[in-house]
């Protein structure tokens, strides 16, 4: 009995349009086991989690649970069978008390129950997750984010699940709250529960997991015991070798005359002035870890980050944009890494988002031309496969992937010659990622010059035609297409000077 897995998925396939998120992937977990599920962004982790939790029913393959083959109709069905999933986004009601949130589903408690009764019932579950010191009658929004995550888990535990899925529970948490989560996972294991632990944090994975399943590009590796692996071998498994079809094919580029020359640009946060050239038709990658300065460089080129000096040579003119308007007017578009901060007008219709940079184009003598605006927005929405019927909706209702497509797609309205993109696919699902890559490549093929900064090692390996790498505010070097392997890039962005103590494994993706 002990050898038979509690949950086993075999040969799972899942398509999103043309994109295959999972390709014959398998997954299993035994009774009382903590299984780590790791993989790069877009490897299929969230798809796998959604399938296990019953959120995604459009897959093919065998779902075996608790001794029989199952086909859940939805998350509620899965939950009733004992599979609970704690998602990254909180689903608590902030104004209700902790106890009320725990019994939100209404089962296990009478229809009419006093607050005191609920509080008494909630107490043991709170203790279970290490929140015994919290008054169950407190409003949930008075708790810290970490505590709220724990309350969410407590609510799931109240249903007494057999399998608990934690999807990056510590992504938004500080150190102390993370430790609470890890402690709680340990206690669950002692009580014979199975936990699927999805995380990017290597140290946590090795601290608590019994076995680890690696997903790479939609394919799964055989689950291995955590003690047989170290961080290096795990990273190797995650990165793998070549990545498949997600990344569009690269054409040979004739580099004759640079379209944009960056000369002695010295943005704040960079140690010394930098120089590089950008050519028409290429995607240039700026590789570097968080804090390496690539964001500042793009920001300075677009006029949204301050710089100490330097200039851009573009279309026969030498200038340094002091505000984004200067760059936009010359046809340089910049899409920042934080679309919610300065990429989107969430409360305004998608149409207004799409036309925001090009108001001059859609107006005459200061009067907006509604027809021209609709035509322009529709054209660009179609290019980015955003349904034009949704143009009147608020941008805030879109999913992360579609929001990113709008944030990027709005720049097509100015027909930019140079497009600067920072983290083109942060927080974007695998399907939209592929679409965004495809569109960037098409734009480059049609004569735009594109600069992409990314901390995602797969993206930076497979998308650009050329890479310039940065390390702690210093320009390290340039890699041509033939030298662009993950290993080379990793070395250049994590340990270019071969200093002691900086291992490849400490890469944060």
């Amino acid at each position: 009995m002990a050898d038979q897995p509690l949950l086993r998925l075999t040969d799972i396939n899942r398509h999103y349009g043309a994109i295959q998120a999972l390709k014959g992937a398998s997954f299993e977990i035994r009774h009382g086991e903590i299984m780590g599920l790791v993989g790069e962004n877009g490897a299929g982790k969230s798809t796998m989690v959604k399938i296990i939790g019953g959120f995604d029913t459009g897959f093919t393959g065998e779902y075996f649970y608790d001794g029989e083959i199952r086909q859940f109709s939805g998350p509620t069905a899965a939950e009733q069978s004992g599979i609970a999933i704690a998602q990254q986004e909180l689903s608590l009601i902030p104004t209700m008390s902790v106890a009320e949130n725990i019994f939100l589903a209404g089962d296990g408690v009478p229809q009419v129950a006093s607050k005191g009764y609920l509080a008494r019932k909630a107490k043991p579950f709170l203790e279970e997750v290490g929140l015994g010191h919290i008054n169950p009658l407190r409003a949930t929004n008075r708790l810290s984010v970490g505590e709220q995550h724990l309350v969410e888990v407590a609510r799931l535990i109240a249903h007494n699940p057999q399998v608990l899925i934690l999807d990056e529970p510590t992504a938004a948490l500080g150190e102390t709250d993370s430790i609470r989560i890890l402690d709680m996972v340990g206690r669950l294991k002692e009580r014979g529960k199975s936990v699927i632990y999805v995380s990017h944090r290597m140290d946590e994975i090795f601290k608590i997991c019994d076995r680890i399943t690696v997903l790479r590009d939609g394919e799964s590796q055989e689950a291995r015991a955590a003690k047989d692996m170290d961080v290096n071998s795990l990273v190797e498994l995650m990165l793998g070798f070549e990545l498949g079809d997600m990344y569009p094919e690269r054409k040979t580029i004739k580099r004759t005359e640079p379209v944009l020359k960056v000369r002695d640009l010295w943005p704040d946060g960079i140690l010394e002035p930098i120089n590089f050239d950008i050519y028409t038709g290429e995607i240039l990658g700026l590789a570097g870890q968080l804090g390496s300065g690539t964001s500042e460089i793009l920001g300075a080129m677009a006029g949204s980050t301050k710089s100490r000096g330097g200039s851009l040579h573009f279309q026969g003119k030498e200038f340094l944009p002091s505000r984004p308007k200067d760059a936009i007017r010359r046809g340089i578009a910049y899409c920042s890494e934080d679309r919610k901060y300065d990429g989107l007008f969430l409360g305004r219709p998608i149409m207004e988002n799409m036309s925001a940079p090009a108001l001059e184009k859609i107006s005459k003598n200061g009067i907006l031309n509604g027809a021209r605006e609709r035509a322009l927005a529709t054209e660009n929405a179609v290019k980015f496969t955003v349904d034009p019927k949704r143009l009147p909706q608020e941008a805030g209702v879109l999913s992360g992937g579609n929001q990113q497509k709008v944030a990027l797609g709005k720049w097509l309205s100015i027909a930019p010659k140079v497009i600067l993109v920072n983290e083109p696919t942060r927080g974007v699902d695998v399907g939209a990622r592929a679409e965004i890559y495809q569109i960037l490549r098409e734009l480059a093929d049609h004569g735009a010059a594109i600069v992409v900064a990314s901390t995602d090692i797969q993206e930076i390996t497979n998308l650009p035609d050329r890479i310039i790498s940065f390390y702690r505010g210093v320009q390290i070097g340039e890699l041509a297409l033939e030298d662009m392997t993950s290993a080379n890039i990793l070395e250049m962005i994590t340990d270019p000077f071969h200093e002691a103590g900086i291992a490849v494994s400490e890469k944060e993706s």
Partner: protein, 356 residues
């Protein structure tokens, strides 16, 4: 991949209302309608032509100021807390110039001719507008450079009031009738509809069209909805703040001129003590913007809402007057309406995804 939102087209009116507005807002509008209907039924003389004219005329002065202020609020620059002080400075400026010896045109003896009156009025009016523009631009520039709107406009309020008070020696400045400003204060060209009412309607329509169909209007919304994204797409708040503050200031000055035309005089305290049901013009104007349901954070709302807010407050006020409530009770009612609408719209915003 795909979102779980229904497609937008082909919805019935009721469904569209339910999609676009939260239940709280619908409930509030419903409550207002109920109050209105109940008041109309139980108040004698309420639905008469004369009374409706009175309501809209009362709404006109505060309404014009509130429409100007709406631009500031929509562009995400909060409020000008100096509205009544701008008006106070403007009214002193206008009245002083109206009565100034050098500004009396035409022959010295007998009644002045129409053209002489027009000249006198035009000079005073233009000078007042220029001063208001400067006052607005200065505040807007400070706000646009990153100054906190509350601090900047509170400081400016003291400054403007001080200048007005000093200039007029804190006395009433009066000027002789006929003086060329009666047409705006009390006159009517179209039947018995007061000109100030016509001005209110024209300004409301022009403001709404501006917001909807001009580049400037779109920029107001975009910068108000997300200042950082506005900057990133080439719409800086600096220029926006200046333009919007100028609009608000000019509207305040226009109201000051119209009011002075009514009473043929001016005093710095006209807008602090002797005006409207709550006495304080700034509070009344902010109340109207709020009751209209414009977002305090900017990016959402319209001057149409503001105009309706002005008429609504004026209606309730009028109803209470007809039913014999004293001014204290009327101030209380206005206060309740502000609190109520602030709470409702704050709750709505907390629940909305737009302000994550």
């Amino acid at each position: 991949m795909t979102d779980v939102t229904a497609p937008t087209d082909d919805l019935k009116f009721v469904q569209r209302i339910r999609r676009d507005y939260s239940p709280l807002v619908i409930a509030m509008v419903g409550l207002f309608v109920v109050i209105f209907v109940a008041g109309a039924v139980f108040t004698d003389d309420f639905l008469t032509w004369f009374n409706i004219k009175t309501i809209i005329r009362d709404a006109a002065l505060v309404g014009i100021m509130a429409i100007g202020l709406t631009f500031v609020t929509l562009s995400g620059n909060f409020f000008l807390l100096s509205m009544k002080e701008i008006a106070a400075l403007s009214i002193i400026c206008f009245a002083t110039l109206m009565g100034a010896d050098w500004n009396q045109w035409g022959a010295g003896e007998g009644d002045p001719t129409t053209s002489a009156l027009v000249m006198t009025f035009s000079v005073a009016f233009l000078a007042t507008m220029i001063i208001a523009t400067i006052a607005g631009a200065a505040q807007g520039a400070l706000i646009g450079l990153g100054g906190n709107p509350i601090v900047v406009t509170l400081g400016a309020a003291g400054l403007f009031f001080g200048i007005g008070s000093w200039w007029s020696d804190n006395l009433v400045v009066s000027y002789r009738r006929p003086h060329g400003a009666e047409w705006l204060g009390t006159g009517s060209f179209i039947g018995d509809i007061p000109n100030i009412t016509v001005a209110f309607i024209i300004i409301a329509v022009v403001a709404e069209l501006t917001l909807r169909y001009t580049t400037f209007g779109r920029q107001v919304y975009l910068v108000g909805a997300n200042r950082a994204a506005g900057r990133a797409t080439g719409h800086e708040n600096f220029g926006m703040a200046i333009k919007c503050c100028i609009i608000a200031s000019v509207c305040a000055a226009f109201v000051a001129v119209a009011f002075s035309g009514q009473v043929s005089s001016a005093h710095v305290n006209y807008f602090s003590s002797e005006f409207g049901s709550s006495g304080d013009m700034t509070i009344m104007v902010i109340a109207i913007v709020m009751v209209g349901g414009n977002s305090i954070m900017g990016g959402y709302g319209s001057t149409l809402r503001t105009s309706l807010g002005a008429i609504f407050i004026s209606t309730v006020d009028n109803m209470m007057v007809l039913n014999g409530f004293n001014s204290g009770a009327r101030v209380l009612a206005v206060g309740l309406m502000i609190v109520f609408s602030i709470i409702v719209f704050a709750l709505v915003r907390r629940g909305s995804r737009a302000v994550e």
